[in-house]
Assembly symmetry: C2
Homo-oligomer: 336 residues x 2
DNA sequence: CTGAAAGCGCTTACAG
DNA sequence: CTGAAAGCGCTTACAG
């Protein structure tokens, strides 16, 4: 590998000078000298070693994401994947790489890993509630960007981006109301997610506004696993006092719901309406096409990275960009 | 940040000694000394700087993946995502991080980026054919692992892992034959993918074995985009000389195919049978449940990383592990 | 406008 | 068993 020293020697200048042409400053270099250096860099096929650079600059141009024991999110959760695509796009614009830290499992391990690797920032996508990692990161001094956790980590995260879940839930409920639905069951996701909590709250709130007192019976599944959802829907649809609509916690839950309804011979939306949340790419291909609440996953992913990049580079960020909420959209298809 | 020097001073030893206890060798340290060093490391909350380490060791413990202008694969291609999950699992086992290089677009950029970042290896998942990146990487000296490209990059890649596509295609064709299908259309994917090429070849071969001369008319779509597939299937199903079955290039194509058939009022499998390829997590949730050829995506992802790790660490790899083919499985559901 | 030198935080021969 | 020192490949004050 050719180093800065080789280029210096070959150009008859000092390594300092080579460095200054490499970085376009901060000190000026005489045009002829710069020319000469540039051409020998090209001739020797020189590429500055980013590792050495990181060491002295104390900046790795890398943002980290943790990947746990099971990496099922990437495969089974299109929200996660959609946000990730946005994260990559944002990282590309700002010149960051995205590193998945695989090695760690306990919070302590993770802290160790991060202190060792020196990412410029860390990212959490749809984290579970009640983790103390954000606090640890804060003490380590690595800025944290959190996506899809509402304001639950607002104190310890530098950037919080999410969809406006209250608005999204109301959008869906209002749509069901307009379609004449009064008896609605919520096939709700993992209670350990902030979004689940908020949406549940709004669901109950809206029910009360309709003059209906919500009960535990209105919630089923409590999980994102398709098998669990399938069974829960199957059971609920065979009990007395049938709902006319099911609100699904996300489009994955909606898919399992459609499947259970189909297997029971129920027509959607005639016998039972189904509405999802997220608008996964496959939503329009479901049978029937799924009505759902769209989250701008790509924009959300881009936004965290932009926010973090601003923070890293400008050392500060406007208060109104620290916490960002994107508006959801109601996408009406054939399932309601 | 506390450094090795702080620990040395605080323990009354040299930095060399601290380094040797840190790495458990290669030189022995007196037990009492080691004890003392370990405890001050803990007390000072010391975490060795991986960047500095990488600089001297010339090993980053990182494998890189390129992400292009559009990152749609992660969202729309469950094969890619499934392999990725396996890659993460393998990386975790062997102590590597996975970095997505976002910055580059041209091959030259990419080479530059890689020379700068110094990944221990690079990974390509389902790459398009005819790229010269593999050759460039070879000249850079970074080992390359290729997944899902058959043997097309065998000369320049260090590790090639894939499913046995010939076997997979035969499995599907034989199943269709047994179900009585003689007139089959192949909704084929992007011709720029090795898998597409191989499967097409086997498709034609099997047809000839059946005594049927394949024609251009037997292939439709030539793309992985669902809109393109939808339109192609829609048109084909309204022409004369209807097929009794459609073989889809992957499960995404199969989904769009099912959708088109449904919208035309065709019953699956009664009017038209559909078989997919890959076995995405949603395959069982389609309407009807999709018969498909399963690829062990997770194992494939793990295998590349294991192969590369062996290469990096042992400097060599057995010839039989350099190229690896996993057997596919026929998963029979309700669409055939 | 430019060079010589210190330093980033480690590892590892060299010498005892 | 251990320390002093060189070196990995850069950046950036310091001095001219």
């Amino acid at each position: 590998m050719v180093t800065i020293r080789d280029v210096a020697k070959e150009s008859g200048v000092s390594v300092a000078t080579v460095s200054y042409v490499l970085n376009n400053g901060p000190r000026a270099v005489r045009p002829e000298t710069r020319e000469r250096v540039v051409s020998t860099m090209r001739r020797l096929n020189y590429h500055p070693n980013a590792v050495a650079r990181s060491l002295v600059r104390k900046r790795t141009h890398m943002m980290g994401i943790l990947v746990g024991d099971e990496q099922s999110e990437i495969v089974n959760n299109n929200y996660y994947a959609g946000v990730l695509a946005g994260v990559f796009a944002g990282a590309r614009q700002r010149g960051y790489n995205i590193t998945f830290f695989t090695a760690a499992s306990t919070d302590k391990d993770i802290e160790h890993h991060i202190r060792a690797q020196r990412p410029d920032a860390m990212l959490m996508i749809a984290p579970r509630l009640g983790q103390d990692l954000p606090k640890r990161l804060k003490s380590v001094g690595v800025p944290l960007g959190v996506v899809g956790a509402g304001d639950s980590y607002e104190d310890d995260a530098a950037i919080c981006v999410d969809v406006d879940n209250r608005a999204g839930m109301r959008l869906g409920m209002q749509h069901l109301w307009e379609r004449g639905h009064r008896k609605i069951v919520y096939a709700i996701g993992d209670p350990n997610q902030e979004s689940t909590q908020v949406r549940r709250m709004v669901f109950e709130q809206v029910l009360r506004e309709w003059g209906v007192e919500p009960s535990e019976h209105d919630f089923i599944a409590h999980s994102f696993h398709k098998e669990v959802v399938y069974t829960a829907v199957e059971q609920r649809l065979q009990q007395a006092s049938l709902p006319t609509a099911i609100f699904a916690g996300n489009d994955g839950i909606a898919l399992a719901t459609l499947q259970a309804a189909r297997d029971l011979g129920r027509r959607v939306p005639e016998d039972i309406a189904v509405i999802g949340y997220d608008d996964w790419p496959i939503a329009s291909s479901m049978t029937p096409g799924l009505t759902t609440i769209r989250q701008p996953m790509h924009e959300i992913g881009e936004a965290v990275v932009q926010g973090l990049a601003n923070l890293i580079e400008k050392k500060s960020v406007k208060a109104e960009t620290r916490v960002k909420r994107f508006p959801p959209t109601l996408i009406i298809r054939d399932s309601t």
